[in-house]
Structures are given as structure tokens and as C-alpha cells.
């Protein structure tokens, strides 16, 4: 059951999942690819998200990802997730700065 999305001003939605092969957190990009870096994620408006999510989730197996869902971000560059949980998924565990997603390819 999809909960209604309430976005604050200045917020958009992004799609995220985990990669099937290694479980890494990935973000859905406008060209249909999945990327480790949230900076490349496509920013979606609330009213288009449901349709895009349904389409992208339907292609999860082909794309090698698991558990596609949407989450709110501040629509700045790079976008910043609203919740602590998604911030940690975007950037890596806070207790291991050396594993920061930003420092990886």
C-alpha cells in the first residue's frame, strides 16, 4: 500500500534500491541506470513518482537491483535525503568515514 507523499517546499523524490550482486545502495538516474552516488539521482515530483516507481520496480530484476522505493530529498545539488536513515544510505556508515560513498567510484 503506497502511503501518500507529503513533500515540504524545496523537496523532491528520488528512487533508491540495493544492488542485487553486492547489496550496495544505489539511486535511480534519469537515463535509467542505477548509480552509487545520490548526486546523479533523478529528482521526481510527487505526482509523477507513483508511475515511475511502478515502471522502474518492474524492471528491477533486469537492472540487477532489489527493493525499489522512493524517498524525499532536499532538491539541492547534490540532493540531500530528509531522514537520517537515507542520509546514511547515501553517504555510508557515519562511523567509518573512510568508507564514505563519495570517495568511491
Amino acid at each position: 500500500m503506497k502511503r501518500p507523499v507529503r513533500l515540504e517546499p524545496g523537496q523532491k523524490l528520488v528512487l533508491t534500491a540495493n544492488r542485487l550482486l553486492d547489496g550496495r545502495t544505489v539511486w535511480w538516474c534519469a537515463d535509467g541506470s542505477w548509480d552509487l552516488h545520490i548526486g546523479r539521482a533523478a529528482l521526481l515530483d510527487a505526482d509523477e513518482t507513483e508511475a515511475v516507481l511502478a515502471r522502474v520496480a518492474g524492471e528491477a530484476q533486469r537492472d540487477g537491483v532489489v527493493g525499489v522505493y522512493d524517498t524525499a530529498v532536499q532538491a539541492v545539488m547534490p540532493p540531500e535525503p530528509v531522514t537520517v536513515r537515507e542520509k546514511i544510505r547515501a553517504h555510508g556508515p557515519t562511523v567509518h568515514p573512510e568508507f564514505a560513498v563519495e570517495s568511491q567510484q
Partner: protein, 557 residues
């Protein structure tokens, strides 16, 4: 190879089984990768093999039966950390190890490596009987009445792949101890077992049921006071059958045995177990002295020989070196042999991550175990490591060796010995991060002299209501809660898992993450300011009640 000291030695059947199971899982992984299996179909299969999907990667939980390893196994865990993970592993409160950065495609290879040293990840997840935990000082402590490892092994064999108990209403956790000093949190387990010698010399077992933490913390109730050894398996089988038949399957939050015991009452549960026993074929489950002896023979007995002056040497070294003396005070326990001592190695360096060890530290621990403790290592339910049989005159050399790899922290049982779950830094179920709070508290109370001054004080941190960090059982407990995507912590005081088990009382409204460490520091100050001579934190709390502590915690808010 001679039998390992401390744990059961596998035979051909065990090893063939593991290989077959890995081959099966490899086929399942391949079918998942080629899309034949959907994620929904694959998830229960991977969980049965200990593989979770967490926030950043897969997590593999490896079973350490009753927490005991040999050095060869520990070395292998270090190699896996180095080769397949990011060079570290996390030891858990259930005496297991978790690897946080595992790739799905590597998992069959990792399981093969584990099988080389008779290890696996089976039944580390799912609604089955999980790894049986045991007293970390088993077979070594002076205060022990019965060595619980033999029966822990019997339970391991009984519960592994038990066809009837593979799909229970919910997970099932058993702990066993043979000491009057409960070091396994027996009353916070689905079944807690305390062994003691019976009149004829054979052990008898006191059995608690329905304990647990999580969303509904409950202290286990005594089901039987004195189960005879020959009836141990039949009794456990009957307890599980009653649960399997009547435990709720409609609501995951009400599915644990504790809810069933609460719902029908312990007397009715006992009657149901007795009724089940009366129609079971008891012969089939009878644990004969021969069967017990056969299992016992698969454990090697350490040859405890020490020079006559071992004790005197240690005493002199303690006088000569106050730092060493402080470590001995907090990190050792009395061994049953006067020439030996039990050493607990803290995995809680000040400001570090509780329970984490690097591959280099793991390798060194294996070497030190070979050099000082018959190649045997125990993982504790408080996320530390024990070398069970160290000669007293060699303890200082061990300590110096530990210091070289940053493992000589003198804080066991003290405020720095914090238990914390992985929390929101890794865990997909978390509300808040547990580890950073532990690190800040560890740094705040880094001074080991101050820790010794504060005395026995246990802090437990869980990142959500599932309570993997046992926060309800902490003298001070912290529970992470989510308020609109932000981290808050609820404080409890007065919990304890040892004898006189108690569930902590909530002090008040949850505090924002950045105020939590200061609030705990004020709790500690309140205790230090008001304690009477010889009192521990719990003593002062018991004498004064919660109110002064509540005021102290919320003073600045």
C-alpha cells in the same frame, strides 16, 4: 588432528552435510542471479543461511556454537574479514560474528572457507532454534558447578535441522549456564537453563521459559526446578512442541514464546508440557550417561600445569606495575585451577566500536590463544573475547601482547564496556545510530582510573525496539527512537541480566541524540555525588529510587 580444547570436533557426517548444504545454497544463489528466483522467493532461503540485506550491503552472520572457537577457526574469520569484507568483523551479543560488507556472489565461496574449519551460518536467522549460547567461562571458572558445554553441544545437535522446529512461530533462543552466577542472561531467553549437580552426581537442570527483550520485555519464569539429565531433551522437545502448536502465527509481534506463556500462564504451560511428555516416547529422547560421555569425549581437556610459584609471580608483577594491576582487577576472573586465571579481552577501546575487531586483531588473538590458552577462544554475550586458561605467571606477557594491537583496555564490567547493536549505521530496521553514542560515551569516560572509581556500571544501547543491544537489561539502557526522521534516545535505568534479572524503568521522554551523552554523564555524577561507601550504581539507585536520577537526566532540558 587431535580434538580441540573447548568445542566439539566434527566428523565426516558433519562435514559432508555442510558441503551438500553449500552446494544447495550456491544453486539457489545462481537461480536468484539469473532471475529464476524472485527476491521474495530467495529471501527466506538466504536467511536460512545467515545472509541478510542491510543498508549498504549484505551481512553474513556466522554461528559460533556456545561462543567457543579454536585458533584455526578464528584465523579463518580474520581471513574472511580481510578477503571478503572491509577488514573487520563484528562480534554480537549472541556470541556470533557478523560481516557487514558481503557480496551475494561471494557467499558460497565464503561458506566453503568456513566449512574448511567446521563453521557455517545455518540457523543464524529465521524462525528456528538459534545458536545456543553458554557461559563464557565454561569449564574454567572457579564458581562453576557443571560445565555447560557438553549439554550445549547436545542441544546444538538436537536443535540443528530439527525437522519439527525449522518453522516455529518465531525465532527461538536458548542459553545454558552451570554457574550460580548467571552470566548468560538465562531469564531473558526463550529458554534459559541453569545446570547444577544432582544428588547422584549427574546434573539436574532448572529451566526458565518465556523470557525475552524486544518490544515486550519479559523475565523468564521457572517452568521446572530440577529436570534430570536423562529427561533434558524430552523436556525441551515438549516445551517446543507446545510452543509450536499454540504460539501465534497471525501476528509477528505476538509470536514469541513469551507472549504465549503470558497469555496462558506458566502453570498452564507446565501442564501442557507435562501432558505432552506423558504421551511422548520418552525412550527415544532419553539422554543416557553413555550418550553424554560420548559427547564429552569429543572435547579435549586442557592439561593445566603451572609452576608452584605462578601465583606469587603474578602478585609481584601486579605490585610492580599499577597499570597491569588495574587490568587484572577488571579483566580477569578466578579459574578453578589455582595456577591459572581467566582473561577477558575488551573489544571496547575508548571511542571505538563495541564488538568490532580488525583482521589484524583477530589474527593476533588467534596467535595469543595458541601461545597462552590452548588455542581456545570464547566470544562473550557482552561482545568481548575470553582466553579461558592462562597461566598466572604468563598473564603479564599476554597483556603486553594485547597492548601491541590495542586490546589491553582495562574496562570489563565498567562504564566503558558498552554493549551496542549495529544500529542505523548498518541495520535496515534501525531508528537511530547506536555506535556513535557508544563511541562518545567511551571517549567521555576513557580514563580507566575514573572507570574503576565509578565501578560496576553496564550501559546497553539498541538502535530500535528489537533490543539487540539488550537495552532493557542495561544498568543504564538507551533505546533509539525515530521522531520524524531524527534520532532520539529513551533512557532506562535499573535493568540487569545477571542474578536478580530486572527490566529497566523508563526515566522519561526520549532525548535528542546530541543531548544523550550529557544526560548520562549527569546520571553518573548524580550517583557519584550520592553514593555511600562501597555502593555500586545499582545499589545507589535501589536505595534512592529513580527520582533523583530522573531529575539529573532532565535537569538541563
Amino acid at each position: 588432528m587431535s580434538a580441540p580444547v573447548g568445542h566439539y570436533q566434527y566428523d565426516r557426517i558433519d562435514r559432508d552435510f555442510l558441503q551438500a548444504r553449500i552446494a544447495e545454497f550456491e544453486r539457489q544463489v545462481n537461480r536468484r542471479l539469473d532471475g529464476t528466483l524472485s527476491e521474495d522467493e530467495f529471501k527466506p532461503l538466504r536467511l536460512m543461511n545467515g545472509l541478510y540485506l542491510q543498508l549498504h550491503a549484505y551481512m553474513l552472520r556466522v554461528a559460533i556454537p556456545y561462543g567457543i572457537l579454536d585458533s584455526r577457526q578464528l584465523r579463518k574469520l580474520g581471513e574472511i574479514a580481510r578477503r571478503y569484507d572491509r577488514d573487520y568483523g563484528h562480534f554480537t551479543t549472541r556470541q556470533n560474528i557478523q560481516f557487514n560488507w558481503i557480496r551475494l556472489e561471494d557467499t558460497p565461496a565464503i561458506l566453503r572457507e568456513l566449512a574448511e574449519v567446521d563453521m557455517h551460518a545455518i540457523q543464524t536467522s529465521g524462525n528456528c532454534i538459534r545458536n545456543v549460547t553458554a557461559d563464557e567461562y565454561a569449564g574454567a571458572a572457579a564458581d562453576e558447578l557443571v560445565d555447560p558445554r557438553v549439554h550445549a553441544e547436545i542441544l546444538r545437535q538436537w536443535s540443528t535441522l530439527h525437522p519439527e522446529f525449522t518453522f516455529l512461530p518465531r525465532k527461538f533462543k536458548i542459553a545454558i549456564s552451570g554457574s550460580p552466577n548467571d552470566r548468560v542472561a538465562a531469564r531473558f531467553h526463550d529458554i534459559g537453563i541453569l545446570a547444577r549437580p544432582g544428588e547422584d552426581g549427574a546434573p539436574v537442570f532448572r529451566i526458565f521459559v518465556g523470557g525475552g527483550l524486544g518490544r515486550t520485555p519479559v523475565i523468564g519464569q521457572e517452568l521446572f526446578d530440577s529436570v534430570r539429565e536423562e529427561h533434558l531433551l524430552a523436556t525441551l522437545e515438549a516445551i517446543l512442541r507446545v510452543y509450536n502448536a499454540h504460539g501465534r502465527r497471525d501476528n509477528i509481534y505476538k509470536a514469541r514464546i513469551k507472549i504465549l506463556v503470558q497469555a496462558i500462564g506458566v502453570e498452564a504451560y507446565r501442564e501442557a508440557v507435562e501432558a505432552e511428555l506423558s504421551q511422548m516416547d520418552l525412550e527415544r529422547y532419553r539422554l543416557t550417561p553413555e550418550a553424554v560421555a560420548a559427547i564429552r569425549s569429543r572435547f579435549a581437556v586442557p592439561q593445566l600445569e603451572a609452576p608452584a610459584d605462578a601465583d606469587a609471580v603474578l602478585a609481584q608483577q601486579r605490585r610492580d606495575d599499577p597499570l597491569f594491576d588495574r587490568w587484572v582487577r577488571s579483566n580477569t576472573h578466578v579459574h578453578r585451577d589455582p595456577g591459572h586465571i581467566i582473561a577477558t579481552i575488551s573489544l571496547k577501546p575508548a571511542g571505538g566500536i563495541p564488538g568490532d575487531a580488525t583482521s589484524a586483531q583477530i589474527a593476533r588473538l588467534a596467535d595469543l590463544a595458541d601461545a597462552y590458552s590452548f588455542g581456545e577462544i570464547r566470544i562473550t554475550h557482552l561482545q568481548n573475547v575470553v582466553l579461558g586458561h592462562v597461566r598466572k605467571d604468563r598473564l603479564r606477557d599476554l597483556w603486553l601482547g594485547l597492548a601491541e594491537v590495542g586490546l589491553a583496555e582495562a574496562n570489563i564490567g565498567l562504564i566503558g564496556d558498552i554493549v551496542a547493536c549495529p544500529g542505523l549505521d548498518y541495520c535496515a530496521l534501525a531508528n537511530a545510530r547506536s555506535i556513535p553514542i557508544a563511541q562518545k560515551l567511551g571517549a567521555r569516560f576513557a580514563d580507566t582510573a575514573l572507570q574503576a572509581e565509578i565501578g560496576a556500571l553496564r550501559i546497553n544501547i539498541s538502535g530500535c525496539i528489537n533490543a539487540c543491544g539488550h537495552h532493557h537489561a542495561g544498568h543504564i539502557g538507551l533505546l533509539g527512537v525515530d521522531k520524524r526522521g531524527e534520532e532520539f534516545f529513551q533512557l532506562t535505568v535499573g535493568g540487569r541480566a545477571e542474578n536478580g534479572a530486572a527490566i529497566g524503568t523508563i526515566l522519561g521522554a526520549a532525548l535528542p541524540e546530541d543531548e544523550t551523552v550529557d544526560a548520562i554523564a549527569r546520571l553518573v555524577d548524580c550517583y557519584l555525588g550520592r553514593r555511600e561507601s562501597g555502593e555500586t550504581f545499582l545499589d545507589t539507585l535501589t536505595r534512592l529510587g529513580h527520582e533523583p536520577f530522573r531529575e539529573a537526566a532532565y535537569e538541563a532540558v
